[in-house]
Amino acid sequence: MLNIKELLDEVKASPYREIVVAAPHTGVVEFAGLKPGDQVHGRRGEFKEKPGTLLAHLTRERNRKPITAPEKGEVESVRTELEGQFVEAGEPLATIRHFLTRKEVIERILQEALFLFRAPERAKYYFVPEVDQKLKVSGKRSVKVSEGMELMIVSRMKRETPLAYSGPEGIIHSVYFGRGDNVDEGAPLIGVCPEDQLTVIQDVVARIQSEWEEA
């Protein structure tokens, strides 16, 4: 069984992820003059069209390519000793410490604790009438799901087909779609958790929501 508390402690102990920026291929490195402790950002803009902070240039065959930061964070180390040198592919150039956001932490914990049942195609999803009734009357925590159980109706382009649940047994912890919403392919439909962990998960999520400080 999963220990949620332990997981949370683990996240708290290191509330960041280290990203090692490595040379994508061979070439001569020129750093952009960043020092440890400098703040960097990832791709920005409404369409992610603006590249992240410039970390270095890598030149191979007179093709000078910029290497930019993939995510927001703080520069932890830069291997300045490589300045002007030829490096092999995969050689680490810099390390960025990315502080986890509230959303990322919750996602991480839920990912470990919950089983997400995902939409197989873009469509509208409804619960089968019995489940729907039960959800409405006694709340979502009352529905138990098991492998092969007929759970939903997929409605798309004037046709409706039943969809059976597949995954570990448990109760529905959360429903990620609304009535009549179009759900994209691969988006989670419901989150399922083992019956005994329900309260713990709820508690942890609530605490993260209120306590997690974003860098």
Binding site: F47, R60, R62
Partner: protein
Amino acid sequence: MDLERRLRDLKDRMTYIRDIFGTREDDSIRLLEARLGEALEREARTPGSVSAEELARLDDLFSFSERKLDTMLTPMDRVRIVRHPQRICLKDILENVYDNYTEIGGRGEFNIDPSMCIARAYFSRRVGEKVVRQMIMVIGHEKGHGEAYRNGGSAKPWGNAKALHYMKVAETENIPVHTFIFTPGAYPVEDWPGAAQQIARNLYEMAALRVPVISVCSEGGSGGAEAIGLADRRIMLSHGYYSVISPEGAAAIEGGLRGGERATPELIARCATRLRITADDNLQNGYVDRVLREPPLGARPHHYEFFRELRRELIQATNEAVSEVKSMKLFRAMAVRASRTDEAESIFMRWNLSPSALNRLVELRQRKYRAMSRHARLDGTGLFSRAAAGARGTVDAVHSYLRYDLLGRQKKRLDAMFEELGAEAHLVRHKLLMPLKRSMDKVLVSGPEGRRGVDPHEELTRLSCPEDGACLSGSQWAWISPRSQEDRTVSCPNVRTHHCPDLWVPDLLGDFAGVCPNCGHHFPMEYRWYLENVFNYRESREFNRDLESINPLNYEQFDLKLDKAKEATGLKSACLTFETTIESVEAVVAVLCAPFRGGSVGAAEGEKFIRAAERAGRKRQPFIAYVHGTAGIRIQEGVNGVIQMPRCTIAVRRYIDAGGLYLVLYDTNSYAGPVASFLGCSPYQFAVRSSNIGFAGPGVIAETTGLPVPPNYHRADHALSRGHIHGIWDRREAKKNLHQALLTMGGRNLYYR
């Protein structure tokens, strides 16, 4: 009460003067301000202390000063006048000029595009004892005195589509169209029907619209104005402007500004002066037929006398357009020619025309545009060569007529007859002989040895030309870019999504023809590549080589830039026209070359394009426009450039109507004016992959609409999915596709059909 109102009016007039002259100081303005301030102060202290006589004197002073100030207006002041919310707008004209009107397709905000207003209006005319109503379709931009939803008269593509729709309605009903241009420019969105493509469609239809069209221009901003501006008679209001670009836009280009930077007011004013945008400039250049004088400092809704003038002017212009082509006119035509506008009302003429008169009308309109902008280009061709070219043109036309029309038609008829007969004979033979053959086959069964030819196994496995060997040596291209000599690599722009490996330049620009072998991205290529590898340029005959771009407006420092472009490219204008043979099909090709001032179109380019279209028409050859890149109309030529939009579109329309094949191939970046006219109206538009096609660049869209522009907004794939172009070609297959298109597309009147 009356005094109070008059004081308020004077106050409004003062504010208006202040708005128009901005920060400029002048003695008259100071004097007016002082006098009015004093009167107002006195009135505020003791109401009723300003007498009627004093007010009348003040009123006279205002009128006098306004007349004086009117003579000092700079072009930029005129721009401020037409943009002022108090400026007359279309609704005022409908109310005051026409006797009655019904707005169609919209009521205020509930409208597909509130900035485009359509109305059925009429003039009531007294003819003897009778009163006759003369119907008119009124189409124009509506600014609505600054109502926000009117978008400042900036018509959206669907607004222009609506305008076109009602022009066609007018054509069906055979009533004249009056268009009113009050726009700073078109709203630059690409959604269907597309800003550029819809303007192109409008121009294309108006080029041969079979009703008289009269246009009145107050604020004519480039493409937006052209969308409803192609007319038989063009009237311009004296305080209006008609320009290729807004002065702000010109200043931003001139100052090389990017992003949110603003040009200084001085630079903007300088650009406004340089672009020669005023009514008198345009009259002098011959782009408008008449200038209608406005009251001092511009017409406002309370200038009723001005509306009466406008009414007379409109009647006169419509009468003129009609009388030119009407067969039954006798003295009235003479009277119309002789009359000044103040007598216009006395001459009555029916405005619906017979089919033959309509044909003459369209022909006259087309000829009128053909003759424009002659002064804005330099024809370096010698007198002798010009005469020879003219004679050759006539010979070609006669030859084509004899060969393809007179004899060709008979031959075609005979061929068709023989074809029909042949088909009949084939059917009869088939019906008679098949039963016989079937019974013969049954009696004499033939064995497998009866089959002749190669062993099927060998046929499938051997090389198609075993004697050539499996490997090809050398490049398959007739010309490769000199850039391919450089020993270095480049990365494909799609590396993030497609993980393309780096490309070695000699490979990429040599064998791969500038195409990423992994994702198919097309790197920009020189126009020479297409000339040599697609259009067989070495064996072609170039014509009108000596038509040269000049600087007709004496735009500051432009001579220098032009000379530099001429020297760098070895061309005299951005347009290259030649006759060539593509896989044994003869064709006329016009190329817009991007390295010459961004491929922008000015008077010389337009003329070359028109002559090429005419030549293709005379010789019954297909006409191909290869757009290596175009940045739009050359702004330094002002209206001389913008007038090429209708001119070239008319030429293209004539060519297509005569039954030719007009095909456009876009490459690299094609934007603005040319796309919104003679390129965008083609029924066959193709793009080389990875090219960009659009109306305005992303910066301009973001600036004018305030909407974020996604990257790759103008990519050919998007243009294809929006329905603006009709196919995307791979560069390496351009020649093959072009040949295929020449054989399968186009009208009835091509020499090889």
